[in-house]
Symmetry: C2
Subunit: 449 residues, 2 copies
């Protein structure tokens, strides 16, 4: 958490952080400023002192609203600096940064951060030693102080994540209702005009609903049927129709508008009915999800959960990244990742020997087992975002039913809430799990335990 930052900087012998770039879609900056319409700014945080935000004059009001200590760059007389640099914008940038450090009395080891275009940033960083010889830019990347601080969340951050999480589940519900309201013709869904509903049309629906709820999806979204469901990051092809009985991986990872906190959730749906092999895959993934959720405890190494999921899938006969690191079918990725201002952040669940990330109290992360068989035109992934609460319990931040089958042709008046219920009563042909555990897993994703 932010309160740990000074200690983490001391541990790493850092004298300051220098964050650069805009105050939107820039996690390192937004962590301090919140989402703000500041297009170019620099923030310097000296160890054991509050951060200072350097802004251009046009953005002074937006800067002031962050509540941070602010400095208007007009004071630095940028036109004179540019003359001094003989018109070289890169050198002028380095002179300005050097003066900002000097004014705050920063010397020594400075870690850089911020999401920016590399070409100009690299140029200024390369020039900085000539302008500020007492500053040493350090590549603080094995376990950066800021990354570490951000990997556990405050109550305020949880409320941001919950807010975009509830928007996400509402949009998933609206999408389910939208799909279910369509009639089928032959193998695919059709609109009122009799034309096939397409993946592109569904995605436009999802994006519009997200915008209505104050979310955006800067990293895209996945609505991937059939073969594309079998490749985890294939997003679905706009022109494709929505086929009945074909698994669709629907992975939604929006953030608060402007680049705030993310949520990450995946459901796999079959419209109308599920073929036996898809149903089996879904049950196996659901079992892996449920066992992982049950297993996690505060302080547990993330890798341990990943390894146990690999063992479970291997016992079911699937290749995994543990049995074959290059596999492109079976279980081909890691179990999850932290979620915050980045959709992927610490802790990571990779089974690399070197992964020492643990599930700290306060961490927010996904659990997202999946099984993929692109050549058999199927894939299933189920994902929730969870919070390791300070009281030691694990909470799914925004629950939503995990069912596979969505009924179709139910008319647009149908209430979303009933869809999950209806689907869960769909007759299952492949009862690979005993009833008792099936009942338990049906509830996962709805509970705090």
């Amino acid at each position: 958490m932010k309160q740990d930052l000074d200690r983490l900087m001391t541990d790493r012998d850092l004298d300051a952080l220098w964050i650069t770039g805009p105050a939107n879609h820039n996690p390192a900056m937004v962590y301090f400023t919140g989402v703000a319409n500041i297009t170019r700014t620099d923030l310097i945080k000296k160890r054991n002192e509050p951060p200072v935000l350097f802004h251009y004059p046009m953005e002074r009001e937006e800067a002031a609203r962050t509540g941070l200590r602010c400095r208007n760059l007009n004071e630095f007389k940028l036109d004179q600096i540019l003359k001094e640099a003989q018109g070289d914008a890169v050198r002028a940038g380095a002179i300005r940064i050097a003066r900002m450090f000097r004014e705050l009395g920063v010397r020594g080891r400075v870690a850089v951060g911020g999401t920016v275009e590399l070409s100009s940033a690299y140029a200024v960083m390369a020039e900085l030693p000539s302008q500020a010889p007492d500053i040493q830019l350090v590549s603080d990347s094995a376990d950066p102080a800021l990354t570490r601080a951000r990997s556990t969340k405050s109550a305020e951050e949880i409320e941001h994540i919950r807010s975009i999480g509830l928007a996400s589940t509402a949009v998933i519900g609206e999408t389910a209702e939208f799909l279910s309201s369509h009639a089928s013709k032959g193998d695919f869904l059709v609109g009122r005009d009799g034309n096939p509903l397409t993946v592109g049309r569904v995605k436009a629906f999802i994006r519009t609903k997200l915008a209505q709820r104050g979310g955006e999806s800067p990293e895209g979204l996945i609505f991937a049927p059939g073969r594309d469901a079998g490749i985890p990051h294939s997003t679905g092809i706009d022109q494709d129709p929505i086929l009945l009985g074909t698994p669709i991986v629907f992975d939604l990872f929006p953030c608060e508008v402007g680049g705030g906190y993310f949520y990450d959730i995946t459901r796999t749906w079959c419209l109308g009915y599920a073929p036996e092999d898809v149903e089996l895959l879904h049950e196996q993934v659901l079992r892996a999800y449920t066992e992982a959720e049950r297993k996690i405890r505060p302080g547990m190494p993330a890798k341990e959960v990943q390894m146990s999921v690999c063992r479970l899938f291997e016992s079911m006969g699937h290749p995994t990244v543990q049995s074959d690191p290059q596999t492109e079918c079976g279980y081909v990725h890691s179990l999850g990742h932290g979620v915050g201002l980045d959709v992927h952040e610490s802790p990571y669940f990779s089974n690399a020997e070197t992964n020492s990330d643990t599930l700290q109290s306060g961490a927010v992360f996904t659990l997202e087992p999946g099984l993929y068989y692109p050549d058999r035109k199927m894939g299933v992934r189920l994902e929730n975002t969870l919070w390791m609460r300070p009281d030691g319990r694990v909470e799914v931040i925004a629950p939503y039913p995990l069912d596979l089958v969505l009924p179709v042709g139910r008319g647009s008046k149908t209430k979303t809430a009933s869809i999950g219920k209806k689907a869960s009563s769909t007759k299952r042909k492949t009862g690979r799990l005993p009833m008792r555990s099936r009942k338990k897993i049906r509830q996962s994703g709805k509970k705090v335990r």
Copy 2:
């Protein structure tokens, strides 16, 4: 244009470009890949050779769809590289990049690009010399080859910009209609429930309409009334009501979904009526816009247009960035900027002595004069995005009326198209311009000349 890139690389003695980061919201990458759901990738373009895209296995299908030469990173056995680097992810990253260069036979001067988080990128760049001693990363930033290539647009790029431009003007029309459909109560607009319409509600409306039309607004949007209109980058405060007779600066700068091409357009509106001083300001800004649009020719230095606007505004009695570089009222910014995969890119219109940007044939840029008086609670900006066509003509890519006054209480059935017309017939009390020139400027923003 892209076809100039090899020549530009030769001029700068560059052996290769190395672009890193995702294939969305990353202009340098999207320039080659188009918008694609590839979350982490590296692209290497050797001089006089087509670019090669290095992708993770999960994203192989999305990578293939870019049409570029692709290499699956599985071939590089990343787990072995990590072992070789003794678990140091930064060193492993540098080893991998070094091998990619070696496989393509790249040596010598390499320019970096891509919008990424600096901390890890800087770390890998700092480690690279140890792993690839024959590679020299260069800070190619005074006039980078890629920036230069991107500053003139192909016909295909123009169609992307036109598409998001037409979405923008459609959304502006819908917003005008939405505002006009509201009734007024006392000084402000109210909804059907009698509660004041707020800036936040209008922004939510705009974002939803944008999403419906395949746009997104990752850099935010400005809907700024009164005092906020007087500060160019103030975006408007969500809780504020919409007051009658108060200038609202509405600046929309969306991109194609996923981080494609941008458009940039600003209108200033008064609901119901315009006070005399706002009307005068609007006429003055409109005159500056029209004269600038009329003045520009292929090859003209951008600064020349900026300087003539400064002179015009000074002749009207306004302070400008030319008469006082630190001014925070009057004309406080430059006349425009290039628009493409970045909302702000070359050419720039700054009046800095060092600005040598010219309006090349093929360039796409904004013209956006404005006058700002925050203490008098007013500001006016008018902006279009224009294309310097290969035939020498200048084209407003997506025209929209430039009128100041929007009528209110017209009911929601009113057609958008008629609003501009109606507003332009609103009685004007301050005829500072002769009728003939007023008629001319009324048409600007609608024509190709």
